[in-house]
């Protein structure tokens, strides 16, 4: 199928395709607090999609809805044409949605390698007994997983910390390891919750590069939440803007940048 939208570019190895994930009329309330109100947008296959907005706009809530961590009171999620009223984290993982967290969620005492291997969990079929007895299938899976993980290690240029416990790594590297852990699951969709929070310029540039490379090399659809407008505009194909739980903009970075509501939300309205 040929998509002739202006977003499709010839140079991409994985041209942006049809919507893979659609969110329809999502509303999420915590008691009386409206976190999200009637939000609809879609995510196309192989694109880099950003969700931005000021503090408290509902960005993380949105990601948690996609991921099945939160159950919206209204609305539905359509993944590859199939409609779900509710998502669960397990189902999301099995459907190929992996994520990273705003506060790094790794096994701090384990090495980088072990953390990445843990990310392969869903790819392994062998049971506890098989693994304990080192039966052929368990051994084969272990080797396959290690090869996949080593490819990610090379991809993210973290060879030198392969055997270092995560807790001993600086923050920027931990973020990279977390991205690696998510990639280990070979996701279709990668959800990144503020992947560049707390980084310096150089680390941000590195991370941007890695995100684009992941998208380019594996064709992974990327959904990311980010504070840093500059970064987002540079690496995203399309941007959704939330403010106070409502969608106030949706489009290419250029469209969003010239959207008056967005400017007002970010810069405040002058009177």
């Amino acid at each position: 199928m040929m998509d002739m939208s202006p977003l499709t570019t010839h140079t991409r190895a994985f041209p942006i395709g049809a919507p893979i994930l659609e969110l329809n009329g999502i509303s999420l309330r915590f008691g009386g607090v409206k976190a999200l109100t009637n939000i609809s947008f879609d995510i196309r296959e192989h694109e880099v999609r950003a969700i931005i907005g000021p503090n408290g706009a509902g960005k993380s809530s949105m990601l948690n809805v996609i991921n099945g961590m939160y159950r919206p009171q209204e609305g539905s999620i359509t993944f590859r044409g199939q409609k779900y009223a509710r998502m669960t984290p397990t189902r999301a993982a099995h459907m190929g949605i992996a994520r990273t967290f705003q506060n790094i969620a790794l096994f701090k005492g384990m090495t980088v390698l072990d953390n990445l291997m843990a990310g392969r969990n869903l790819k392994m079929r062998a049971g506890v007994l098989e693994v304990a007895l080192q039966l052929p299938r368990a051994r084969r899976e272990e080797i396959e997983s290690r090869e996949a993980v080593e490819e990610i290690i090379e991809f993210l240029e973290i060879e030198h910390i392969r055997k270092t416990p995560v807790a001993r790594l600086p923050y920027g590297l931990q973020k990279r390891v977390e991205l690696g852990r998510a990639l280990a699951a070979e996701p279709k969709i990668l959800l990144l919750d503020e992947p560049m929070a707390g980084m310096n310029i150089e680390e941000k540039q590195d991370m941007s590069r890695f995100i684009l490379d992941v998208n380019d090399h594996y064709g992974t659809t990327v959904v990311l939440i980010e504070h840093d407008m500059g970064v987002v505009m540079d690496i995203s194909d399309r941007v959704v803007v939330l403010d106070y739980g409502k969608k106030i903009g949706d489009g290419t970075p250029d469209e969003v940048r010239s959207n008056q509501d967005v400017i007002d939300a970010y810069l405040g309205v002058a009177h």
Binding site: E150, E154, F155, E157, H160, I201, E202, D213, D216
Partner: protein
């Protein structure tokens, strides 16, 4: 004589000989994706032939130049051998050079093909392409990020190899003949001089010259195909290319390419090289790693380490050199081997090292002594790019910290009345590229090369290096001033990374000091001095005091040497910013370019000589995002203690 002519005289012929003699033995190992992967001599030759076929199909002519912008990878060495196979000249360049440094070199050599390791190097090559019209093809090794590149000059190594194999299958034999055509007198390598003291020049070496040096040096150390070397230094340095290409081909030993420069020490430990080349800076790094780790060790371990290292420093070198040591000390040393030296060498990856050389710079006696005390056979070596590297080498039982050993076999060394070292050797360079005048200026009619280094030959034939001839001057009072030797002595301090001293035709000697951020930072930590970074550390009064003490120690040593006693460092300041090859203050091999440093810091040097206590300086500050602004910095100038010349020495 008949035996001489039957010996292979080009690198591709050596490669074919190795493939025939030991085809199944490992030639190159590379750690990739966590696993060591082996390329045998047969595979090496096979792949080289295919790549050569593909390169020739892409217009690579005999005598043309191929530039290499790559670290140590098996594909680099295959491409190098393929270049030689096709009769072309390999021109390895420093990977970390910016485009504006590389462009003139490509133009000078008229490079037609570039081998680039990855996207970063390709970007560089593409940027200078408009100014280098001679470049026809850019071959790249790693295809990551290269998907969007559509330039017609680009071809991936994998495609090149595939294409070459198809050509070989279609036309077997044609490519092999090209290797047979090669002669020993053909140019093999073009190395560029570092430009520490003069303009950057292209140095042309022949196959025969380098092979002769590689074989002779290998024979002197009895290297065999069973040896193992680590390829981790820039191939643009002649030393690395000889160790990882020339000598490997000559003797058939296997070279190992670490996964990345960050994993070097882990990879080295896994491999356990038997033959090791390290500039003094790498040795210093190893020593400081040990010392930092010992600081964190428990009291018992620290105590044992201290006790056994004291013993090792006393007897280790003597045992290694086969000199007489009292039996009790020998037993204690053997015990130390079990408790300390063995495990330590294991951690450093030096357990199996039989022969190690340090070259490229002056090594501190303390650092050299550390390794020799442990029983690691580290020796000094002297050579320049023009001399085919191996000029003087210390022999196994004749290692002294203050000389670089006697001339290597086949090399004649003599001194001019001005003490300049002249070298005649079969491994001497052929010429400076397209510069017969410059060649004639340094080569005497009877074949000696003017090294530009001043030295002294001891009675037993050991060569002692002094300084660059052109740098030796005199203070206003007539005392001999040898900046290189003073700087070397200063750099022996772990806290001083670089030093530039100035005193020619002046009253006193003043020094610009670049502190070692890591070492001074660790020192500041233990002394509970809070700091933010290099500039902050350098501005600290405590750090000035620390360096003043270090300089005083150096001055005490200088005072003991009658030729240096008159020119001790009396004033110094700490540079707010590290000296960096990117702004030309250092060469790519991290040698000081004193002229550049002097020009850039002229007001600072004037202020020191004028005796001012502080100096304001408009410094360029490079920010994280690459933008440059100027900011005024205020630097403190401190005095250092000097010593009267040692009386007994003076009398003598």
């Amino acid at each position: 004589m008949a035996e001489q002519t039957s010996k292979p005289k080009t690198f591709p012929k050596l490669l074919l000989r190795n493939a025939a003699a030991r085809g199944a033995d490992p030639a190159i190992r590379e750690k990739s994706r966590g696993v060591w992967r082996t390329m045998t001599w047969a595979q090496f030759a096979d792949e080289t032939e295919a790549v050569a076929a593909a390169l020739m199909a892409r217009d690579l002519k005999r005598g043309a130049h191929v530039a290499f912008l790559s670290g140590n990878r098996p594909r680099l060495y295959v491409a190098m051998a393929a270049t030689h196979w096709a009769g072309a000249v390999a021109t390895p360049l420093f990977e970390d050079s910016p485009p504006e440094e590389i462009a003139p070199l490509l133009q000078q050599a008229g490079v037609t093909h570039i081998f680039a390791e990855d996207q970063e190097q390709v970007d560089k090559a593409l940027r200078i392409l408009p100014t280098c019209p001679s470049v026809r093809f850019i071959i790249y090794d790693k295809d990551r990020g290269m998907r969007h590149y559509k330039q017609p000059q680009l071809v991936s190594y994998a495609d090149l190899l595939r294409d070459g194999r198809a050509r070989l299958a279609a036309q077997p034999g044609a490519t092999r003949m090209e290797a047979e055509r090669g002669q020993g007198e053909d140019a093999a390598f073009l190395f560029f001089t570092s430009g520490a003291t003069g303009p950057v020049r292209g140095v042309v070496h022949t196959h025969a010259g380098l092979i002769e040096r590689a074989e002779t040096a290998a024979a002197m150390d009895k290297l065999t195909a069973a040896d193992l070397a680590l390829a981790y230094l820039p191939p643009a340095w002649i030393g690395q290319s000889l160790f990882s290409y020339g000598q490997s081909l000559a003797t058939g030993y296997c070279i190992c390419c670490p996964e990345s420069i960050e994993t070097l020490f882990t990879d080295m430990r896994e491999i356990g090289p038997t033959y090791f080349l390290a500039p003094p800076s790498v040795l210093e790094l190893l020593v400081s790693r040990v010392e930092l780790r010992m600081q964190d060790a428990g009291a018992i371990k620290r105590g044992l380490y201290k006790m056994f290292m004291a013993l090792a420093r006393r007897v280790g070198d003597k045992i290694l050199s086969g000199r007489g040591v009292f039996i009790g000390s020998r037993l204690a040393y053997a015990l130390g081997g079990l408790v300390i030296y063995g495990p330590l060498k294991d951690v450093l990856g030096l357990s199996r090292v039989r022969v190690a050389y340090t070259a490229g710079d002056a090594v501190s006696p303390a650092v050299l002594g550390f390794f020799r005390a442990l029983g690691v056979n580290v020796k000094q070596l002297y050579g320049a790019t023009e001399t085919g590297f191996f000029v003087a080498m210390q022999r196994d039982r004749g290692v002294r910290p203050d000389t670089v050993g006697p001339a290597a076999e086949g090399v004649e060394v003599k001194l001019t009345p001005q003490r300049e070292i002249l070298v005649r050797s079969p491994g001497l360079f052929k010429e400076y590229l397209r510069d017969p005048q410059a060649t004639a200026a340094v080569k005497t009619p009877d074949g000696f090369f003017h090294t530009g280094d001043a030295g002294r030959l001891d009675d037993d034939g050991h060569l002692r290096l002094l300084d660059r001839v052109a740098d030796i001057g005199a203070l206003a009072n007539g005392a001999l001033f040898s900046p290189g030797r003073i700087e070397n002595r200063l750099r022996f301090s772990p806290y001083i990374k670089q030093a530039a001293v100035f005193g020619d035709r002046r009253e006193t000697v003043c020094a610009l000091i670049d502190i070692d951020t890591a070492a001074v930072g660790a020192w500041a930590d233990t002394h509970e001095i809070a700091f933010t970074g290099h500039a902050d550390l350098a501005a600290r009064e405590e750090v000035s005091a620390l360096i003043a003490e270090e300089i005083a120690k150096a001055n005490a040593d200088l005072a003991a040497d009658p030729s240096l006693a008159g020119a001790q460092v009396s004033r110094f300041l700490l540079l707010h910013k590290e000296l960096d090859p990117d702004d030309g203050a250092l060469t790519r091999m991290r040698e000081l370019r004193r002229g550049v440093v002097a020009a850039r810091h002229a007001p600072l040097i004037e202020a020191m000589h004028a005796g001012r206590p502080r100096v304001q300086f408009d410094a360029e500050v490079m920010h994280e995002d690459g933008s440059v602004t100027t900011a005024e910095v205020d630097l403190r100038i401190s005095d250092a203690k000097t010593f009267p010349p040692a009386p007994s020495m003076k009398a003598a």
